[in-house]
């Protein structure tokens, strides 16, 4: 009996379900699907990222309420004249973050533990339509589009993006990728961003353009006793800034081979290009200048042979756009984190027993992995370290 009841209940239930399902069919009711707006589009369609560094184009896709998750696929890479440009989609081993960089890591290993290698195409899309131009695309793999300010259509790389969700798919065509030559470091006034050669005041000219330190204060000339606050002023003393790669020379102090390829030196040169002993910058907290490590692995930099301060570092510098004590403005500058910051200071007793503090401050970025040195060259006047 109970079975019969169950059976009847089952039949009734099936009938009800069939009818409710049937209603949708009989009356041709639409079924729900994800929404893909006809107006969903890229608001920016031309991208000129600099090669050799990771550029994330944020919020360039306006979904107009379309339902995520959505997939974005790069299609049909080509040059403006129709040549194939699929080289830009080549997959490269790429360092990606797995944990958040905080600036508080106490060894290089700790930093490296937070990122690992993954294969990514050099041009990639993300779930919200953002475009990622990975740092793996450099001049050796992707030819810069232009060697001067003019970009010819055949130099542009074009591609389409197919957007798909369960509601349908659309293709947004003719997004342009105009790669710019690597600029491995900033400030880069001394670097010609079109040719990669030393920069000159006029194209093809011979007068070089130099980098100067951001800010000098309280530094007096050894011979002039004048404040060298303007590094471009020949009267008070010119100070050049070089950010350049170095190679180990035979006469240099012994080299730890494990550190080669990820070193950073801070060098201070006199007018005669001889080294100023970094110890003379007596109030500088060397461990707070660069998120780098000594040869023994502890945080800070080694003062090598009274010549320079050397750090073992992880590139790029800064590692992430996160405010740390190594970035401009420090951690309280909540909008900072974009560039690293040097604050090199010393104090001496000035005339009349007054403490005078001299400082050099410099914001910089280095994108390319290698052995780099940041050189402050007191070109015409040496700074005064002695007490008056």
């Amino acid at each position: 009996m109970q079975n019969t009841i169950k059976y009847r209940a089952f039949v009734l239930l099936t009938a009800v379900v069939a009818f409710s399902g049937g209603c949708r069919k009989i009356f041709n009711l639409p079924t729900e699907k994800d929404y893909l707006s006809a107006q969903a589009d890229y608001t920016t369609k031309q991208f000129s990222p600099v090669l050799g560094r990771t550029t994330l184009e944020l919020n360039i896709f306006n979904p107009v309420g379309s339902t995520f998750p959505m997939t974005f696929t790069v299609k049909n890479p080509r040059f403006g004249d129709g040549r194939d440009a699929s080289d830009m989609l080549a997959v490269q081993p790429t360092l990606v973050w797995t944990q958040e960089y905080t600036g508080k890591e106490t060894s290089l290993a700790q930093i490296e533990a937070k990122r690992h290698l993954e294969n990514h195409p050099m041009l990639e899309t993300r779930g919200n339509g953002d475009l990622v131009f990975w740092y793996t695309a450099d001049t050796t793999k992707i030819k810069p589009a232009n060697t001067d300010t003019v970009v010819y259509p055949q130099q542009e790389r074009l591609f389409d993006i197919k957007i798909t969700n369960t509601g349908g798919s659309r293709t947004i065509t003719n997004l342009a990728y105009i790669p710019q030559r690597d600029i491995p470091y900033t400030p880069s006034n001394d670097y010609n961003t079109y040719t990669g050669k030393p920069n000159t005041t006029t194209p093809g000219g011979h007068t070089l353009v130099y980098n100067y330190p951001d800010n000098l204060s309280g530094i007096k000339g050894e011979t002039t006793d004048q404040l060298m606050s303007d590094p471009k002023n020949a009267q008070t003393g010119i100070v050049y800034l070089y950010i350049r790669k170095f190679v180990d020379l035979p006469g240099d102090p012994p080299v730890d081979q494990a550190a080669v390829g990820h070193r950073l030196r801070l060098i201070f040169l006199k007018t005669d290009s001889s080294y100023i002993d970094p110890i003379k910058f007596n109030t500088t907290k060397w461990q707070d200048q660069i998120h780098g490590f000594k040869a023994d692995g502890t945080p800070g930099g080694d003062i090598v042979d009274h010549k320079w301060v050397e750090y073992n570092v992880a590139y790029p510098i800064p590692l992430a756009n996160i405010p740390t004590k190594f970035t401009s403005g420090g951690i309280t500058n909540v909008t900072g984190g974009g560039s690293a910051q040097l604050n090199i200071t010393y104090s001496r007793i000035g005339f009349g027993n007054v403490t005078e503090v001299g400082s050099i401050s410099q914001a910089f970025q280095i994108f390319e992995k290698g052995d780099w040195e940041i050189v402050f060259h007191f070109k015409t006047v040496n700074p005064k370290f002695d007490n008056d």
Partner: protein, 1079 residues
């Protein structure tokens, strides 16, 4: 000619005489009483007949005396009761009869197209609620007592404000039209059309858009006394409503008022005394507990110079300061229990030829919120006069006066009160010398508001020859509704404010019909043709003036341009004219097969001038199964009756306003001494606007089994709502902002089941009736304007900047339930900071998008924050991570009513339920936010901007208790439900308690005990001794308990879109003692 009359007369006289001669064998005088079996009330007016001839009627005490032949059979009958025959035993002279109320639904009289028909012969779906079911519980609006009584009638009593209405929908959604955006979105009400004694009445106020309406907000329905209601019939499908055409698309509820039916005049006095009790309020920390909580919170989570600010915040730091040394219970200041009474006197009398009724009512309800309340005085009279069987008149006058006090709120919403009750307990309470303007404005605002209505209707019918009836009826209704508000200067920054609103509605209605019935053997025909004219005008004016000489002087105020806000006619202005011609034709064969056809042609001024007419046909078919011999033969043992109904038809409802069709023109001053009048550019007129169209198919089954032990009505329907009004936003390059189109459509389909069970035998002394019903309704959005491509989020700024929207938005997506929420998905709480995902490209933790703080590390999620799903994998939580979610409308509604009576006692327990519905518990979200604001500024950044020394005591909110909530307890707590609410410094960046997330989208199902009534009829002889006829006393409790998984304060007290709006008026619990005396 004369002979023709005289001869038969003589013949019949002889016949009668002969009969008498025969009967003279033996005569007896039989005496007795006729009473109602259930209520034991005397049945005044019951007819006693023998052999089809009426002998007498029972008097007001139900007593009768007849002289009949010994041993003859007496037949007792009265409308609404089962006729009972009793054969006298030889020599019997005493006979007490108790009549059974006729509960078989098939025998009910229903009204179709203004004409009374037997339910057996009609095809439409409807349900009748008797007047008795809506007594014993005094309410400001009788509608709320229908909750859970009719399958498919979804009533949510979502406000406890006296005199105001909840939401009423028949068979699911009929519109997707919403007004306002974000948290203040309201659904356009789609109340059914009420027909009161044949006269249509729109229950929605013309100016009523959702909650925050202008005007007094009192529904015309609140002015109808519940004691005066004889019955209410809810018409659901298209065939039933077909003839109510032009405004019947949302369903129709017919209300029949009491008519005089007793030959001996009757006076019924009903008196109720009731207490409205405040529901459970929010528990908060008081006094020192609150101060200690705030200080501990600051000590634990302070950033920057917060601790310095603490020492400069007197209400926290200076605990010895008498001004701040309080523990004020703000809720008790605004909410209190109230005692109220209602009195009703009804006089009626008369017979079929002439009867009259007058009902006088006083209703008063002081609201549980201070300075609110509702009072009505009404006098309703009707009179029916039938000088000859052929000619009949019916006239009625309804007059009523309503008075409503809304305090500082706007009726349904009590925002200022909601804000004030959340004051910090450290603040001193109101006193003679000390009160904040919030307090003053709530307690001292003086308003006098309310409608004054007079409605007259007259109806005449004449039977030209048997079967052919001519009928005409006319009605004029005039309602004025004004609001005078005086806000004293002390409560309004030293400027008294005088608000005046005046609105007037007039309705003129006329209907003339001809109906004809004819039987040709087994074939029965019925034809009804009528025309109908409906004209309504509405205009509302509003002015506001600041400043009066003093707080005692409330006017008249002179006109001072500088102090007046101008005011003028509000754009709710209405001038609607509809005219219709309709015909109905019914054919049946032996009452076995019934076919209903109706056709209605409607012209409406609310349609665009390009196409003002709509044609509305309907067809219905009914098969009375039990009249088939082959079925009756086999089932007669257990089947009383059964039938199958199949109907289809169309109805319309005017939706456009004059402004939508013709545009709005503004005077724009003078140019060259010529007045300029130009079109208002906010909306482009649409002359092609149509009425909303509702097409409904219905399949129904009625049955009664086991001698009335089980009655059942089952219906399944499909309802297509097309041409729904939709406001289209125009691109900003066009001069106009929006236009109204008919491009939205939705469909409802569902099932309704009503069961009435009488488990005990008829002869049992205990009478037990269980009525249950349930309705399952699905709605599907079918169409949106083409340019929206199948989805519309009700905030147009999403197209401008998808990143910066916050708030509770409504999503309308084709193919799913019409009104969904647009929410972030919450998956719990991050146990530790390491659990927060990191962007592989940038190395930054998952962040919040916040326009105020750009892309700051403060916005990164950490352990103890809400785990919101990043649907687009960009490691930023922004508006694009919202998903369409939930259903704001309930799927399942219904109720159960249980009545047991024994002797003079009767107990009724009446419950209702609503299931499968999403509610956004914004109330809980707000409660949590209040825990996260120790300084009382909600934003420490503002505080820093003020030099960090601002005294924020008056801004500080109460600290609710949170011991019942599973809040994150510290690093590693993976099972918490709510994020760390105490870390106020971090919370301001994170907004963990945004209401628009799935965490706060809760299950809004509930089961509610609406009412429990115990009544007792005093013994007859005792009543007689004190010279009365009948006394019935009762005690009842209403809104007694709600069982729900919902964690908010009241699951029902949410708006029609399932948002638990802060500031809603709580539903009181009431306890009533009442009695009912018949003289």
């Amino acid at each position: 000619m004369r002979k023709q009359i005289i001869w038969p007369s003589i013949f019949f006289c002889c016949l009668f005489l002969c009969q008498n001669l025969i009967a003279q064998v033996r005569k007896v005088t039989v005496k007795g009483t006729v009473i109602d079996k259930a209520t034991k009330e005397p049945m005044a007016g019951a007819t006693i007949s023998v052999g089809g001839k009426g002998l007498s009627q029972a008097d007001v005490d139900g007593k009768f005396t007849v002289v009949v032949d010994d041993g003859s059979t007496l037949v007792f009958s009265i409308v609404g009761y089962t006729t009972q025959s009793v054969k006298l035993k030889p020599g019997q002279v005493l006979l007490n009869v108790s009549l059974d109320a006729d509960t078989r639904q098939i025998d009910e009289t229903v009204i179709r197209g203004y004409v009374k028909r037997s339910r057996e012969e009609t095809t439409g779906a409807s349900y009748i609620v008797t007047g008795k079911e809506v007594q014993d519980n005094p309410v400001g609006n009788v509608e709320q007592l229908l909750q859970g009584k009719v399958a498919g009638l979804n009533i949510q009593n979502n406000t406890g404000a006296p005199g105001l209405r909840g939401s009423v929908n028949i068979r699911g959604l009929s519109t997707i039209q919403t007004t306002g955006t974000g948290d203040n979105t309201f659904l356009q009400p789609t109340s059914p059309l009420y027909i009161i004694d044949g006269i249509p009445l729109t229950a929605d106020q013309a100016s009523q858009y959702g909650f925050d309406q202008q005007g007094s907000g009192v529904s015309p329905l609140s002015l109808i006394p519940q004691e005066d209601i004889q019955s209410m019939e809810v018409l659901k499908d298209a065939t039933a409503t077909a003839l109510y055409g032009s405004r019947g698309a949302y369903g129709v509820i017919l209300i029949t008022t009491v008519r005089g039916k007793s030959k001996i005049p009757r006076v019924v006095y009903t008196s109720n005394y009731y207490v409205s009790a405040i529901p459970k309020l929010r528990s908060t920390l008081g006094g020192d507990a609150e101060r200690q909580f705030r200080i501990a919170q600051i000590n634990q989570y302070a950033v920057n110079n917060d601790k310095f600010i603490l020492s400069n915040t007197p209400f926290l730091a200076d605990s010895l300061n008498a001004f701040y040394n309080n523990s004020t219970n703000w809720q008790a200041i605004y909410y209190s229990n109230q005692f109220n009474t209602t009195q009703n006197v009804e006089l009626d009398g008369g017979d079929d030829k002439f009867n009259y009724k007058a009902n006088l009512k006083y209703f008063s309800q002081t609201g549980i919120v201070e300075n609110t309340g509702f009072e009505t005085y009404s006098l309703d009279m009707n009179m029916q006069f039938k000088p000859s069987p052929k000619l009949g008149f019916f006239g009625a006058v309804r007059t009523s006066l309503g008075k409503i006090k809304t305090g500082s709120g706007t009726g349904v919403l009590q925002n200022i009160v909601a804000n004030s009750v959340n004051n910090s307990s450290l603040n001193p309470g109101p006193s003679f010398l000390l009160a904040s303007s919030d307090v003053l404005s709530t307690l001292d605002i003086r308003n006098s508001a309310g409608p004054k209505e007079i409605s007259v209707n007259m109806n005449a019918n004449y039977e030209l020859f048997p079967g052919l009836n001519l009928q005409t009826s006319g009605n004029y209704d005039y309602t004025i509704d004004n609001t005078d508000k005086f806000l004293p200067a002390a409560a309004n920054a030293q400027y008294a404010q005088i608000d005046n609103e005046y609105q007037a509605t007039s309705v003129l209605y006329n209907r003339n019909n001809i109906s004809y019935t004819k039987s040709l053997g087994s074939h029965n025909l019925f034809l009804n043709v009528f025309d109908e004219i409906y004209i309504t005008n509405f205009q509302a004016n509003y002015t506001r003036i600041y400043g009066s000489p003093n707080d005692q002087y409330e006017g008249p105020t002179g006109y001072d341009g500088g102090l007046s806000t101008g005011g003028g006619v509000l754009n709710t202005f209405t001038n609607l004219k509809t005219a219709a011609l309709a015909a109905a034709f019914t054919y049946d064969y032996k009452k076995k097969y019934i076919l209903d056809l109706t056709y209605r042609l409607d012209g409406s001024s609310a349609n665009g001038p390009a196409d003002p007419y709509t044609k509305n046909p309907s067809i219905g078919f009914k098969w009375n199964l039990y009249k088939e011999d082959w079925i009756a033969d086999r089932t007669s043992k257990w089947l009383d009756y059964a039938d199958i109904r199949l109907t289809a038809g169309q109805n319309i409802y005017p939706v456009g306003t004059l402004q939508d069709i013709y545009g709005k023109y503004n005077p724009n001053g003078f140019y060259n001494n010529l007045p300029r009048v130009g079109i208002d550019f906010t909306e482009i007129p649409n002359p092609y606007l149509k009425s909303k169209n509702v097409i409904q198919y219905n399949l129904g089954f009625d049955g009664s089994f086991f001698g009335g032990k089980l009655d059942m009505i089952f219906d399944t329907y499909y309802k297509a709502v097309t041409n729904d009004l939709f406001t289209n936003n125009l691109p900003n390059v066009l001069g106009f902002g929006t236009y109204q189109s008919n491009d939205a459509s939705l469909s409802d389909y569902g099932y309704e089941l009503s069961l009435t069970i009488r488990p005990l035998r008829k002869s049992s002394k205990v009478n037990w009736t269980i009525m249950m019903n349930g309705a399952l309704n699905y709605d599907v959005l079918v169409k949106l304007p083409a340019q929206y491509n199948g989805q519309y989020i009700d905030d147009n700024t999403t197209t401008v900047n998808p990143l910066f929207i916050s708030g509770q938005y409504l999503a309308k997506r084709v193919g799913r339930n019409s009104l969904s929420n647009y929410l972030f998905t919450n998956q719990g709480v991050y146990a530790t900071t390491a659990d927060v995902p990191v962007d592989p490209v940038t190395g930054i933790r998952l962040r919040n998008s916040n326009p105020l703080y750009a892309n700051q590390p403060n916005l990164s999620y950490q352990g103890g924050d809400a785990k919101l799903v990043d649907y687009n994998h960009d490691y930023v939580i922004d508006a694009r991570d919202r998903q369409v979610n939930g259903n704001t409308q309930p799927l399942l509604t219904g109720g159960v009513s249980n009545t047991v009576s024994y002797g003079a006692f009767s107990v009724n327990i009446y419950t209702s339920y609503t299931a499968v519905r999403s509610i956004i518990n914004a109330s809980l979200a707000q409660r949590l936010t209040q825990l996260s604001d120790p300084f009382g500024v909600n934003n420490a950044i503002n505080q820093n901007a003020n030099g960090g020394l601002a005294n924020n005591a008056s801004l500080a909110r109460a600290v609710p208790t949170a011991t019942d909530l599973r809040i994150w307890q510290g690093t590693g707590d993976a099972t918490a439900k709510y994020a760390n609410v105490y870390n106020y410094a971090h919370e301001q960046y994170l907004d963990n308690f945004r209401a628009e997330q799935t965490l706060f989208q809760e299950n809004g199902s509930y089961f509610k005990i609406n009412q429990v009534t115990l009544s007792y009829i005093l013994p007859k002889n005792f009543v007689k001794r004190i010279g009365l006829n009948n006394i019935r006393t009762y005690v009842s409790g209403s809104n007694l308990a709600v069982f729900t998984p919902y964690s908010g304060p009241n699951v029902e007290n949410v708006n029609a879109l399932g948002k638990d709006v802060d500031g809603a008026y709580p539903n009181p619990r009431t306890y009533t003692f009442g009695f009912n005396v018949t003289f």
